[in-house]
Symmetry: C2
């Protein structure tokens, strides 16, 4: 089988298994069975399990980035773009394979014993935070809004994962609306006006 096809099948199976059941709980034998690639083929394309884990994280990072970027791009106003993040989360949470953020999970499992995994998690989160910061800047809002919205998104993911329900996305979106409205005021002017709380 061609190398690229082998890689694809292994990484697909590995992502599904690692995300669904945890990295340490899934052995190479199960990955062989799930991917249909023999152990020899597997080690012919990847040097080790650790390398597979890192590639799985990289793919998941790219998938998340395009997913949220596309969703945000479909919104029109700067405010709607910020809120689109939580709509994307809401859809994700209602996927019945949802089991929290793969990077948070990987970090919790391996972050303290694998510097590479910890670094991927940090990069992933930092990337998201700077993406949000860009949207906040486009909206002309107070820059402090960015970490606030990032924290909301983060909290929604873990809350939804542990609770097993997706309602956290709705709550986070609601909170985001309020924070955005407050930050659009203090970002543009110095908050001397007195508008009503809701539009």
């Amino acid at each position: 089988m061609m190398d690229e096809r082998v890689r694809e099948r292994v990484l697909n199976a590995a992502d599904r298994l690692y995300y669904g059941r945890g990295i340490q709980s899934v052995g190479m034998d199960e990955l062989r069975r799930a991917s249909g690639v023999s152990l020899k083929g597997l080690y012919g394309v990847f040097p080790s399990k650790a390398a597979i884990v890192l590639e799985v994280l990289d793919r998941r990072h790219a998938l998340w980035n395009t997913g949220v970027t596309d969703r945000v791009a479909r919104a029109e106003t700067p405010r709607a773009k910020l809120l689109a993040i939580y709509d994307y989360l809401s859809d994700w949470f209602s996927d019945d394979t949802f089991r929290g953020c793969g990077f948070i999970n990987a970090f919790a499992e391996l972050g303290s014993i694998s510097p590479e995994v910890a670094e991927r998690a940090r990069e992933h989160k930092a990337g998201f935070q700077s993406f949000v910061a860009g949207l906040v800047a486009d909206a002309g809002a107070d820059p402090d809004l960015a970490p606030q919205l990032s924290i909301l998104a983060e909290g929604a993911q873990t809350t939804a994962a542990i609770a097993g329900t997706g309602e956290a996305a709705v709550h986070a979106r609601h909170a985001a609306e309020i924070l955005i409205d407050a930050a659009m005021l203090s970002g543009a002017t110095s908050a001397s006006e007195c508008p009503s709380a809701k539009a």
Copy 2:
């Protein structure tokens, strides 16, 4: 050695090791070495590693509860009590052994293969959420504020853990102030007044 002292030493060591390096990464032999309790003594008091894990989680749950409850009790106004949560987080984050929420970590590692661990995590989070809901009710604010504040606290914990810095607590506290102010308006009356954004 007396059983209670053995339990104490084992659970202290287990909590430190499991929290610091992950549960699956710490073997019984290392726990024996760290606790100074022989393997025989260990299995004389606990039936299995899984039982130790659950007791560690229970202790951590109790510790968190008393810690945050005490901190909240020291605040005077309902608003200050809600914000005290984030001050507690801020102190926790600056502890150099901080490595995120132990329940999120345990859930990520074992939630999908250990129903008991998953249940402890759910109970822990549900307990915190209803604690916050009580404070929100005491403050006379819109009940929707409670999940919003819980999500902020959750997000601050994972953000601080992965970033390795504690600044998320400050951002979360800031966001909480804005959300509280908004919810105190819509909770007490039907938001017909027009106050300034900050007190």
